[in-house]
């Protein structure tokens, strides 16, 4: 394919993905907005006012970056895992397999689709948070780079999950048993300074902690970890997952007999 044809194929996949999640907006866009509003009201306003400061900021301001990241992570992952798995399930993946689209374009298209949803929701939640607190941004580039790369990383994760999944149960195992706990324990709601030494050490093994803190650094200028280490780590994970996903696609794992 010529590079222009490849670009057309890439747009086609991305547009199809965006069309899908906007068509079912009540399942994709609305729920995170509702949940996040509840978090803001309950944790930020009601409980937060009694907690006082966290990491040098009032509690509401402290959790906003974490909640935005939580929404971005969950939705980037969910978009790709459910879209790609349902393509497999309905066999419409065959439309791509018979066509000359190179594997890396398929991957890029799906990851971009997941990022489109993750980042739109991130933006919605950010706008929503402005109704509850004032965000003064410490470093816009840091904030944007972190959220974009995190969204890409979890879209990749969703893609690999969908390639491996053979039934609908398989697409909810990772979000429920891995992503949710790691996000809750990833410093969204508290600074790990509060934890005893041992648990601080354990927390540092959680990759999501780095992403949440990198993003929080971009907004507030405070972080439990070095934000550049966070970025480096995300990049290494992305490279690893891209390699895994492309290898699986080349073998036709779960999509070609």
């Amino acid at each position: 394919m010529t590079s222009r044809a490849i670009l057309t194929a890439y747009y086609t996949i991305v547009i199809r993905e965006i069309r899908r999640f906007t068509r079912i907006w009540a399942q994709t866009l609305l729920p995170p907005v509702v949940t996040m509003t509840l978090y803001f009201i309950i944790f930020g306003n009601l409980i937060g006012s009694r907690i006082g400061e966290m990491g040098g900021f009032d509690y509401m301001a402290f959790i906003v970056p974490g909640l935005i990241m939580m929404a971005v992570i969950t939705n980037s992952y969910a978009n790709v895992v459910s879209s790609f798995f349902s393509m497999k399930f309905q066999r419409s993946i065959e439309e791509l397999l018979v066509s000359p689209v190179p594997n890396w374009v398929i991957l890029a298209g799906y990851v971009s689709g997941g990022m489109a949803r993750g980042l739109s929701i991130g933006l919605l939640v950010t706008l929503l948070s402005l109704a509850f607190t004032n965000l003064s941004i410490h470093s816009l580039p840091m904030m944007i780079v972190t959220v974009v790369l995190t969204s890409a990383l979890f879209s990749l994760g969703g893609f690999i999950n969908a390639m491996l999944a053979t039934k609908f149960d398989d697409i909810s195992i990772v979000p429920t048993f891995v992503l949710t706990p790691l996000t809750y324990l990833g410093g969204v709601f508290y600074s790990i300074d509060l934890l005893p030494n041992f648990w601080q050490g354990v927390s540092l093994l959680n990759p999501i902690l780095y992403m949440v803190n990198g993003f929080r650094f971009g907004i507030l200028g405070v972080s439990d970890v070095n934000p550049y280490v966070s970025l480096g780590m995300i990049l290494v994970f992305i490279a690893g997952l891209v390699f895994v996903a492309l290898t699986m696609l080349a073998r036709g794992k779960g999509i070609r007999h």
């Binding site: 747009y11 309905q90 439309e95 018979v98 066509s99 036709g252 007999h257």
Partner: protein, 316 residues
């Protein structure tokens, strides 16, 4: 001349160890209308699946218009349109979007994709349904949707795996004339079907496959000429109790009391009627027992099942 499809020594062993193809050789000339026939489980979909990149081959070589799928896959795919046996579109997507999206996968920009989608949706009688989600189409419409989708990038080779399964007679006829028209305009067509009259009506060349081997690969004309014996069914005015003696012919009564007569090629039917006339048996109507190709097909597949050795044509 380059062949539209050229398959050499193709084998396929599925993950569970089942060998679905045991070394297939097949070539289809450009411009041909070709039928791949065989009973359920013979390996038709497996063969077509490998050609269209839906199934990984175990061994062998496949070329589409000279482009090897191992080394020039992208060019091979560009020349190929596929209508699979089972519905494989997103049920929630709109008809028009399904077709234009497919064009996009071939790198066709949206404006040209829309024109092409309109052309084929109109030709296949689906234009009124363009804004319906695919799940709201009837079975026959879904098949036609898959044909429109396969043609949107104007491939030179169109492969159809049982395109008329579950399609009513009238629609089947209109699909036939659509495919004939495509073929006249230069598209090479390969189809599988279980309706042998379909193969007889449409195709010029035929291959018969069974248990992962090609039993026969020849022109329809030669295949039909091999059929030396034809059975006619005669309905008599008065039902017979026992088959009459007709010297030179084998006859018997079928389950409903009609008379079946086997006639060798070149033997002619006159003698049958002369002798029946003499016996005072009045014939009110006559038909051939089955579709000729069907008879041949059944005989071949039965022979293949009863002989342990592979039948002729395998060693070509």
């Amino acid at each position: 001349m380059t062949q539209a499809l050229d398959i050499r020594g193709l084998t396929k062993t599925y993950g569970d160890g089942f060998q679905a193809l045991k070394g297939i050789d097949l070539s289809v000339a450009e411009g041909d209308f070709f039928a791949l026939l065989g009973p359920n489980g013979a390996g038709k979909s497996t063969t077509l699946g490998i050609v269209s990149s839906l199934v990984n081959k175990s061994d062998g070589e496949v070329k589409v218009f000279g482009f090897d799928i191992d080394t020039n896959l992208s060019e091979a795919k560009m020349n190929l349109g596929v209508v699979p046996q089972e519905f494989n579109f997103n049920q929630f997507e709109k008809v028009f979007d399904i077709v234009t999206t497919q064009a996009g996968y071939y790198g066709i920009p949206l404006r040209r994709a829309s024109e092409s989608a309109e052309k084929y949706l109109k030709k296949l009688g689906l234009w009124d349904k363009r804004n319906s989600p695919a799940r709201m189409l009837s079975g026959g419409m879904k098949r036609r949707l898959m044909i429109a989708r396969a043609l949107v990038h104007e491939p030179r080779l169109l492969i159809l795996d049982e395109p008329t399964a579950g399609v009513d007679i009238e629609l089947r006829r209109s699909m036939w004339s659509f495919l004939e028209e495509m073929n006249r305009q230069g598209t090479t067509i390969i189809l599988t079907t279980h309706y042998l009259e379909e193969a007889e009506a449409l195709c010029r060349n035929i291959a018969i496959i069974d248990h992962g081997r090609i039993l026969k690969n020849t022109s329809k004309r030669d295949l039909l000429q091999e059929l030396s014996l034809e059975t006619f069914v005669l309905d008599t005015e008065v039902a017979l109790n026992s088959p009459p003696e007709l010297p030179g012919f084998v006859c018997r009564l079928d389950g409903e009391g009609a008379l079946e007569v086997d006639v060798e090629k070149g033997q002619g039917l006159n003698q049958v009627f002369v002798q029946l006339e003499d016996m005072g048996i009045k014939v009110v109507s006559m038909r051939t027992k089955a579709n000729r190709l069907e008879e041949l097909f059944i005989r071949m597949v039965e022979e293949n099942a009863s002989s342990a050795k592979p039948a002729e044509g395998v060693a070509e």
